[in-house]
């Protein structure tokens, strides 16, 4: 096409494609401890720079520095490290189970564990979470049993979704974790609605929701920020900027010209850009935003700058669109390695303890999987009753569904599948 030669259209360019050297020079960094921590009641219009800088607490040597240092008890940090490590080990094991044909699909969160774990730990159990599909750390930090998660992945007889959802689309009413949708960003404005109701009822619970930077392109993102701003809803809206939406670089979601956090001030919402691989910084920023929400100071948009170290899903092969092993060059490192280094520096952790913990967690995941499979797998019984297909669409089953259920039963007995 000769037209290409004349086109003046700007197209965002990924910094490195296969065969090229990884290049993260585009990522704007602030030194650890350099960003001021405003009062939680600060007006959004007065703290616009928070959406452009990068809040960091852990420096390159693993020291916690600066005004955002949350001063957590070492025991608390060890819990955070355990949740993150468990998330990663769980992910690795489920990935292998998918490759072995034991589950149909899986999505890992490798490299992004601090986002879910630190944020969940900075919130209260009564706060309602509206996750995306890469937030398994929320489930783990909220204490959802691994067996329950695994039964969902297996669509087996103890699947919380009764076989209706793709693997990883968990929910937990008791754990205050909303049902995950496969449609992107739909949960973002729903979280705002939940928070509006909390405010109407005069309760001090808040809602938090997560989307990827790619999903921020959806109209739902705009609706969420608009409604959050108009009603000053007690909500924390999180954009996990892991740089990639499958093969699409974050520049195609608008990240090339300005940070995602900077969209907050555009709506009159506090925007904070934080090092998403720094457990302490993520915790501190979330705690700050939660206090704002609870004291009526308004919603916060947090951009968590991180890197999707793994493939998008088990159906994806990133070697086809990005530089090989580029995550090893990511300037913000690995969240588990960094928290571990910090704890060792505090004298509260060691390589030996880390290895022992990893072995314990491997064993926990293995025994949980063994237990989960007793409730059925994709290939071996027991299986869910297919009648369940027709239930829970309405509170009471209407006549046309009763008829269709009867037809399905007849069809199954005809084909000998009763």
């Amino acid at each position: 096409m000769a037209m290409d030669k004349h086109s003046r259209l700007h197209l965002p360019r990924a910094p490195a494609r296969p065969g090229e050297a990884p290049d993260f020079s585009y990522v704007q960094l602030s030194p650890a401890g350099a960003v001021a921590r405003p009062d939680v009641n600060a007006r959004a219009r007065d703290i616009g720079s928070l959406s452009l800088d990068l809040v960091r607490v852990l420096d390159d040597s693993g020291n916690a520095v600066g005004p955002w240092h949350p001063h957590l008890d070492p025991a608390e940090l060890q819990v955070g490290l355990r949740h993150m490590l468990l998330t990663r080990i769980f992910d690795d094991r489920m990935q292998r189970n998918q490759r072995a044909g034991k589950i149909s699909f899986y999505i890992r969160s490798m490299g992004e564990e601090a986002v879910s774990v630190a944020q969940c730990m900075a919130l209260r159990p009564g706060d309602m979470l509206f996750p995306s599909y890469r937030n398994q750390g929320l489930q783990i930090a909220r204490g959802i049993a691994l067996v329950d998660l695994m039964c969902q992945l297996l669509s087996n007889t103890r699947d919380m979704c009764k076989g209706r959802q793709l693997p990883v689309m968990y929910h937990s009413k008791a754990g205050n974790i909303f049902s995950i949708s496969g449609n992107l960003a739909t949960q973002f404005p729903q979280a705002v609605g939940w928070a509006m109701a909390a405010a109407i009822k005069g309760e001090d619970h808040l809602a938090a929701s997560w989307i990827g930077e790619g999903s921020s392109a959806e109209a739902d993102f705009h609706h969420a920020l608009l409604f959050a701003s108009v009603y000053q809803a007690p909500v924390i809206l999180n954009v996990v900027n892991n740089q990639w939406a499958i093969s699409t670089f974050q520049g195609y979601a608008g990240g090339e010209q300005r940070s995602f956090a900077a969209r907050g001030p555009g709506y009159g919402i506090a925007g904070v850009r934080v090092d998403g691989n720094d457990f302490l910084a993520v915790y501190a920023v979330t705690q700050w935003a939660a206090e704002r929400a609870r004291t009526g100071a308004g919603p916060t948009l947090i951009e968590l700058v991180t890197y999707r170290a793994a493939a998008h899903s088990t159906s994806d092969d990133p070697a086809r669109y990005r530089a090989k092993n580029d995550h090893e060059h990511w300037p913000l490192g690995d969240p588990i390695v960094r928290l571990k280094q910090h704890l060792i520096r505090l004298g509260e952790w060691s390589e030996e303890r880390h290895q022992a913990l990893a072995a314990d967690l491997e064993a926990l995941v293995a025994s949980s999987w063994k237990e989960a499979t007793t409730f059925g797998t994709m290939t071996e019984g027991p299986r869910l009753d297919a009648d369940l297909m027709f239930e829970d669409l309405f509170k009471e089953m209407p006549e046309h569904l009763q008829k269709q259920r009867a037809l399905m039963r007849a069809e199954r007995s005809r084909s000998g599948r009763t």
Binding site: K162, S179, T186, G193, A197, H223, F227, K395, H400
Partner: protein, 338 residues
């Protein structure tokens, strides 16, 4: 009992529900301070406050999504979409979220949201204020779809919809807000005060979903219809001196198949009528059901009366609208066959 037009009946339903259930909130564009562009929520914000009758931004997707979130947090939102023609920005939240939350969470979460929206033409609204998109929503599994044709039903159905634990899309044929309409716009408007269905109980009452109303019993043909077409069909049959049984479905999902089929088995002839477009419309579903269930009782092919498969044109409103002449032709065809 009091004389009420459909707007007053809907207002009364919301008034009662706001009063007796503190979890009920109204939300929508222009509904609060102003009372709604059709006045359906007039006076309710003054009565129940800005925190229960909430003005919203012009963002239908946001309105539906926020209503879903509120319902997950124990509220019973009644959201108004100002015109059914404007509902499409909220479609993903309705079809992919609202309709499926109970199902995908295996009953752990549910979303008792009612979406009220004026539909239909005959008010010089042109192609963006006249649509009848009910068939788009009846095709989505997991939502109930309701359309009243008179003030009495409107109030009872809306109360039932608000109390229902499943999501309901509540279509209001806006040509019927002020009076029954037989399809002849040249005649003087008839107010609801002169019609028995304009006599409305001032208190709490329910009209069940999934129960059709036999508006007129008849022996020669069954006319299956809803919304604006109830009165048009009745007038056309009367003018042709045909003893028609007129069935007002009132709710499309769930559908009262028994009432439909009992009638067709009795009369042996069937006309399906709606204002919405024809191709792939809800009438096609009604035809299929009648054909599947009543084939051996039919004396003639089923006839269908609908709007044309074009947008609703401003200048040709009455050529578009399925008025008495179109119904009469269908009645003639169904009576003459065999």
């Amino acid at each position: 009992m009091a004389h009420m037009n459909m707007i007053q009946a809907l207002n009364s339903a919301m008034d009662i529900m706001l009063k007796q259930d503190s979890s009920v909130v109204l939300m929508g564009e222009d509904i609060g301070y102003f009372g709604g562009v059709f006045r359906a929520t007039e006076g309710l914000q003054r009565k129940y406050g800005e925190h229960r009758v909430i003005d919203t931004p012009i963002a239908e997707g946001g309105i539906v999504a926020a209503a879903i979130g509120m319902s997950i947090n124990g509220m019973r939102p009644v959201a108004e979409i100002q015109f059914a023609d404007y509902i499409y920005p909220g479609f993903d939240q309705i079809a992919s979220e609202l309709a499926r939350i109970r199902y995908r969470s295996a009953g752990e979460f549910f979303a008792p949201v009612t979406i009220r929206t004026p539909c239909g033409g005959g008010i010089r609204g042109g192609q963006t204020h006249s649509q009848s998109p009910e068939g788009i929503f009846t095709h989505v599994s997991g939502i109930k779809v309701v359309m009243p044709s008179n003030p009495y039903d409107a109030k009872g159905l809306l109360i039932t919809s608000i109390e229902d634990d499943d999501p309901v899309i509540f279509f209001e044929p806006k040509r019927l807000y002020n009076g029954p309409f037989d399809g002849d716009a040249s005649k003087p408007a008839v107010p609801w005060s002169s019609h028995p269905k304009g006599q409305v109980d001032e208190g709490y009452y329910k009209v069940p979903l999934g129960k059709a109303d036999i508006v007129r019993t008849g022996a020669e043909v069954s006319i299956i219809t809803y919304g604006t077409m109830v009165f048009v069909a009745a007038a056309a049959a009367a003018a042709a001196n045909i003893d028609a049984e007129i069935i007002d479905l009132r709710s499309l999902v769930p559908l009262d198949v028994d009432t439909i089929c009992n009638s067709v088995r009795k009369t042996g002839r069937c006309v399906v009528a709606h204002e919405a477009t024809r191709f792939g419309g809800f009438g096609a579903e009604l035809l299929s059901i009648v054909q599947e269930e009543c084939f051996w009782d039919l004396e003639a092919p089923i006839q269908r009366v609908t709007g044309w498969d074009t947008p609703y044109p401003h200048a040709f409103e009455w050529e578009y609208f399925p008025g008495q002449a179109r119904v009469a032709m269908a009645l003639k065809a169904v009576m003459e066959s065999a």
